[in-house]
Amino acid sequence: MSAANGHHSGDDVAAYALGALEPDEAEAFRQHLADCPECREELAGFEQVTEALPAGAVYAVPKGLKRRVMQDVRANPKQSTARPPELAGPLLRGPLLVWSGALAAVLVAVVVAVALTSGGSSATKVIQASAGNAELRVSEGRGDLVVHRLPQLRPGRIYEMWVQSGSAAPVPTGTLFGVNSSGAASVGVPGSLNGVSAVMVTNEPAGGSPAPTTTPLIVARL
């Protein structure tokens, strides 16, 4: 998908604007965008088009939809702290995890493990980390983290994966990743999960951090 010099073709820009790149391609393209003003400019032009596309279809809002939405609103009174919109699910109102005083001031959107079910083959466990936001698929002592609807990263930021054993400080796995246009990604957890009590994800500066600098967006407890 890339030229030899690492520059992406305009074809990739168009496919990305339409959300049509494969997840790994989208991730590579996002990283490329941070350093390529030419692609950013072309993408901005295409995004003007994709933002206009929904206007081409006009259907009447069904009766009752507004009532349902406002019932939801009344049933979910506001909380004072703003949170990333795509992570603001009902299950996120669980206890907030704060590692240190330095992290306490960071906006918090912590995901708690809510279910442990079997899925796939009998040797595979799927741990739901939140309401549709993340699954940790564990098979034969190894894990794959599948995330959905994570916020898009700003240039110069990256998601970093950590593992925690007991109450010890989280240890970087060396896994840095982004999400596709719908906020999805699938990444393997390096090494064995033996002795690991939780897999976490934080938003870090590009290149990663030796220790978390923000409160985790995802905590999948084993």
Binding site: A20, E51, P54, A57, A60, D72, K78, R83, P85
Partner: protein, 196 residues
């Protein structure tokens, strides 16, 4: 003595309404819903083709907006863009989870839920004009370019899935996407200048 006059919420900009929403003002949120629900539902329905699913997607998107309040990311665009993006992402998730069929008809001909003609407020007229402009621009595209754009954006398919469904090389699919988007950018820009 200062008298406070009731604020006409419908006269406020989205960003001002979202400040009120952040403070828990449900009436402000209701105005935001009224302003953007049609576009949100239209996109959801256009993508999934099922009324109940489209309603669920829109409901989730607006509830997410309510919870985020002023915390929605303004740097990423307007409230409308935020809502449409939330709807689009959720619909793509649904389509990909359901294993979207590339061959399904993504054209909206024959769908009987178009906005009734009797709704003729200024906002509706403006929305119809905008819809006409976008549909007109799409209609002017060569069919092979329009098809890949619709399958990607409204169908939630990746370029590889489209290539497989249409029996085309992936490079051809992406090339058609680029040609189509480039033409749309030009024709929509032209239409906007004419409308002004």
């Amino acid at each position: 003595m200062r008298f406070r006059r009731p604020v006409d919420l419908r006269g406020l900009a989205d960003e001002e309404l979202m400040e009120l929403v952040d403070g828990g003002e449900m009436r402000a949120f209701e105005v935001v819903f009224d302003r953007h629900a049609s576009a949100a539902y239209s996109l959801a329905f256009r993508m999934c083709g099922r009324r109940a699913l489209a309603e669920d997607i829109v409901q989730e998107a607006f509830l997410s907006l309510w919870r985020s309040g002023a915390g929605y990311d303004r740097t990423r665009g307007s409230v409308r863009s935020w809502v449409l993006s939330a709807v689009h992402n959720r619909a793509i998730d649904q389509l990909r989870r359901a294993g979207a069929k590339a061959g399904r008809d993504v054209h909206d001909d024959g769908i009987a839920e178009r906005l009734p003609a009797r709704e003729s407020t200024d906002a509706e007229v403006e929305r119809r004009d905008e819809a006409d402009r976008v549909r007109g621009a799409l209609g002017e595209l060569p069919p092979d370019q329009r098809r890949v754009i619709e399958l990607a954006y409204f169908g939630g398919l990746t370029h590889s899935q489209i290539a497989e469904a249409l029996d085309l090389p992936p490079g051809t699919v992406k090339g058609r996407m680029r040609l189509g988007l480039t033409k749309l950018r030009s024709s929509l820009g032209e239409a906007e200048r004419v409308a002004l």
